[in-house]
Amino acid sequence: MPQEEIIGEKEGLVNVMEAENPTTQRVRQLKDSGYIKQRQSGYHSLRIRVRGGRVKAEELAKLAKVANEYGNGEFHFTMRKGIEIPWVKFEDLEAATKAVEEAGFVLAGCGPRTRAVFNCLGSICPYSAIDVFAIVDEMDRRYFDSHLEQNPTRFPHKFKMSVTGCAIGCAKPQLNDVGLMGVTFPGLEIEKCIGCRLCAEVCREFGSIDDASSAWEMVVAKPEHDWLKEEPVFSPDLCIGCGDCLRACPTDAIPSVRSGLRIFIGGKFGRHPWYGEILADYASVEEAFAIIDRVRDFYQKEGKKGERISHLIERVGMEKVRESVLHGLRKELGEINPRLPRVRV
């Protein structure tokens, strides 16, 4: 019994699967399809995909009816922005699934496949540098929906992606197999500057205990900028693309001159967390999709069964991954500022 419950979570899934009995196999298949076995015998939780974490009130009302009819009237919100309806009896699974589908939803399965892509509120959040909803919806359509087909692409292990609008990273792109982060690069229109020094005050990203430098610094103004006593100067090497200076500048003297996606690869949580490596920086949306396609190909071809991308990187080396994924693309994509924040194990 306990073995049944943990089986889908096992890192070395394949070895266990070979030995599994019909019951454990059934549990795994159910879980792969989005029916999560509860610790209470005979009950499952239905995991429902919510695209982009956004759900219409009337759609939720339809799901509420399903939860009342087949569950215990409760929803559970998952970490990947899905909705679960727990306490569904085994004999009701088919009818409940039909009701979920009639409400306009699909189940979000587990197993070695693309998981629901998740995201922050980046299309309405003031911090975001990108249209998060447009990107996450497209990723979900391209990569999650393909798994709803008859013979979906199988990966060596689960494949998780997230999209976040800014360097704060609410959607944790560093902890997904592929994570996208919106970044923005500041310019300076000095004629609008009033020398207020807010850019230098708010720029804090390298202002840690051991490194107090920030990308904006105030220096004595040049003679030709005679309306200023002090003026800001920018050090690109110290910029992480967070956009704090753009937002703080009260006179619009700091425009965004470039925005794009920072792409993390190989992140995961779980028993052995890994912090993703930065694979590319300031990619366009089109370039990001090309890179994701290549990462998926690479993972499918080179990954061993049961191996997450983090393990694959550890085994073959990040340089090989970079070469395989980025070759032929704009070379600036792979030029990663070595001072960008990262954690190494």
């Binding site: 009033i194 207020c196 020094r197 807010l198 005050e201 708010v202 937002r247 703080a248 009260p250 006179t251």
Partner: protein, 79 residues
Amino acid sequence: MEQIAVDRKLDLRGTVCPMNFVKTKLALEEMETEEVLEVILDSGDPIRNVPRSLEEGHKILQVSRLEEAFAVLVQKGWG
């Protein structure tokens, strides 16, 4: 920095976001166009957000650093 005549002062040290913004807006509403408000804001989130938010409709003339706070001079705009 040039000396700018201040018509009204508002010390918002200790007032958190977004109430500091609300109070500043309300103060500006009571003032005449082109009058200057000096608002004192804490460092951190208040100074990150409030001046920029006031830019819609008003003009930031000057920001100067006090010890743990900032003095922001805002000129009331038309409208």
